[in-house]
């Protein structure tokens, strides 16, 4: 019995005629029932990685095992268990919303009757019942994203891999998306792997995060533990009269340095010293918050952060 749901070993990808590697020696395991988020700048290799998880792209080196079997040589087994939502396109342009969900569910092994029920369930879940008989081509960007989520989920699959599931969605729909994904994980134990730039909202459901930069997986772990490991537990924002920044001890470098505003990421341990030495007369306003996943992401993807860490 394989220990992990996914096991990536020395995974590398070099595109034809490219000098650089899009993905460099990635080693990663993902377990069943996890919600795993991938963060990283544009072109970091996130989509290249997830395409290899679903067998859409052959690795140049290394391997991806799904339930102990090589994804590249086990198309049927992979496809029957994994629902994939690509970043762009990938759905059936000339079909209606209902047909797209129905055929996806049926081809993934549901009976015709169950596929019809699946259509009703997913239309309701994603609140797109009114789009039932609308052609996919006539949907807005956000509506197409919701349809793609529904199509990826059609067939009640145990694993979902989603490439930027909340792009194009308004705040209400974004919340709906994260809520639905969290419930899916909690109630059905669905393993969810996703790419997002929406680090603030993703933090609400993410259990483990991988941060990518220039083809490298530079950090993997639980967000809380990662924050501790890089002394980034707190976010201190200082607002002051432009041109007169306050003195901050410990030679801290601000992560944001704007006219009248500086942001520092600090550890709990040094907070008392900083607060004691801050001259409140030099400060107009002060805000102290727990560091967010976005702060962690910014820390790791900063230009001068070559280190590889895991927690």
């Amino acid at each position: 019995m394989p220990k992990h749901l996914f096991e990536l070993t020395n995974l590398g990808k070099q595109y034809p005629k490219a000098d650089d590697w899009a993905l460099k020696d990635v080693n990663l395991t993902i377990d069943q029932g996890e919600i795993f988020g991938l963060l990283g700048e544009n072109g970091a290799g996130k989509s290249t990685l997830v395409k290899q998880l679903v067998g859409l792209m052959k690795p140049t080196k290394g391997s991806v095992l799904f339930q102990g079997k090589d994804v590249a040589n086990n198309h049927m087994r992979t496809a029957i268990d994994i629902g994939y939502m690509p970043q762009t396109a990938g759905s059936l342009n000339h079909m209606t919303v209902r047909e797209s969900i129905y055929f996806s569910a049926h081809l993934r092994g549901l009976s015709r009757h169950d596929s019809k029920l699946e259509v009703d369930r997913l239309l309701k879940l994603w609140q797109i019942e009114n789009l039932r008989d609308k052609s996919n081509q006539k949907l807005s960007g956000g509506q197409q994203r919701l349809l793609r989520l529904a199509v990826a989920m059609a067939g009640r699959l145990p694993v979902l891999i989603l490439d930027e599931p909340t792009n194009d969605l308004d705040p209400v729909r974004r919340k709906l998306a994260w809520d639905n994904l969290r419930q899916l994980n909690q109630k059905q134990g669905t393993t969810i792997i996703f790419i997002t730039h929406d680090a603030i909202e993703a933090e609400k459901i993410i259990q483990r995060v991988g941060i990518m930069r220039r083809g490298n997986l530079i950090a993997v772990g639980n967000p809380k533990e990662l924050k501790k490991s890089v002394d980034q537990s707190l976010r201190l924002d200082l607002f002051f009269e432009p041109g007169h920044p306050p003195f901050v001890p410990h030679s801290l470098d601000p992560v944001i340095d704007q006219e009248g505003h500086r942001r520092y990421m600090i550890a709990w341990e040094i907070l008392p010293t900083i607060m004691a030495q801050l001259n409140l007369d030099e400060i107009d306003d002060l805000r102290l918050n727990s560091a967010s996943l976005e702060d962690l992401y910014l820390h790791y993807t900063a230009e001068d952060q070559p280190a590889e860490k895991s927690a």
Binding site: P16, M57, F103
Partner: protein
């Protein structure tokens, strides 16, 4: 770990679903395809028949069979070329590649759907075309077998060009060259007596030669050993084409 209870649909169900998916793509535009697919070869047939009016029945038969094949090439081969480029460039091939289906089911379903759409114009070209140019026909029931066997190699060529080409422009240009090479290579539109021996020799390697010959025989009711040889060649080429497309179409990204 995940229990292995889930099973893919049987192969024939996969083909049927994918066939329906392909047909839905054309539900709003199939009428145009039929009209264009019928008018083009009929006009070509009519124009050429003016020149061949005094050249006898054989010349008219070649014009007729050649134009039926033109209809199949433009109606099936060219459309499949464009469709496979579309599947790749629009990310739809990615969608199919992540479903638990066999690649061969997708290829067969796409060919079947496009053949069905091309069938009305092919039949119209066969029967209306013969009437327009004044060709007396005595169709054999074997025509029902000959038409799909003529269509499959053309469809296979379309799938290959579409899956190998990098973009629409490259695919369109390649398809056009292949179409005219097949029409000119061998006794397809022109009787063999009027062709140089090198063209006749090269024509043996073109599916259009066997397709045109089988069409003429099944139209005149002249079913002899040559017809069965043509049919055998078309069966072999069809099997070869489908398997080559199945092996070379990579629905994964490079």
């Amino acid at each position: 770990m995940i229990e292995d209870k889930r099973q893919p649909q049987p192969f024939i169900i996969q083909i049927w679903d994918l066939f329906l998916i392909e047909l839905t793509n054309w539900r709003w535009s199939w009428q145009y395809l039929v009209v264009v697919g019928t008018i083009t070869p009929l006009l070509s047939m009519l124009a050429l028949s003016f020149f061949a009016r005094d050249s006898g029945t054989e010349a008219l038969q070649f014009i007729w069979s050649g134009n039926v094949l033109i209809g199949l090439m433009f109606g099936l081969q060219s459309r499949l070329t464009a469709h496979f480029v579309y599947l790749r460039t629009e990310g739809m091939l990615n969608y199919f590649a992540t479903l638990p289906i066999k690649k061969s089911a997708l290829i067969l379903a796409v060919i079947a759907a496009f053949f069905l759409i091309a069938l009305p114009s092919t039949l119209a070209t066969i029967f209306i075309g013969a009437w327009i140019i004044g060709l007396t026909i005595n169709p054999s029931p074997l025509l029902a077998l000959v038409i799909p066997l003529c269509a499959i190699p053309m469809a296979g060529i379309g799938c290959l060009i579409g899956s190998w080409s990098r973009n629409y422009n490259e695919a369109g240009a390649t398809d056009l060259i292949v179409t005219f090479v097949m029409l000119g290579l061998g006794p397809v539109m022109i009787p063999p007596e009027s062709l140089p021996s090198v063209v006749l020799f090269l024509g043996r390697f073109s599916p259009a030669t066997y397709a045109a010959s089988a069409l003429r025989a099944s139209l005149s009711g002249n079913i002899g050993p040559a017809f069965w040889l043509d049919l055998a060649a078309l069966v072999v080429i069809s099997i070869l084409m489908i398997s080559v497309v199945g092996r070379t179409l990579d629905w994964r990204e490079a």
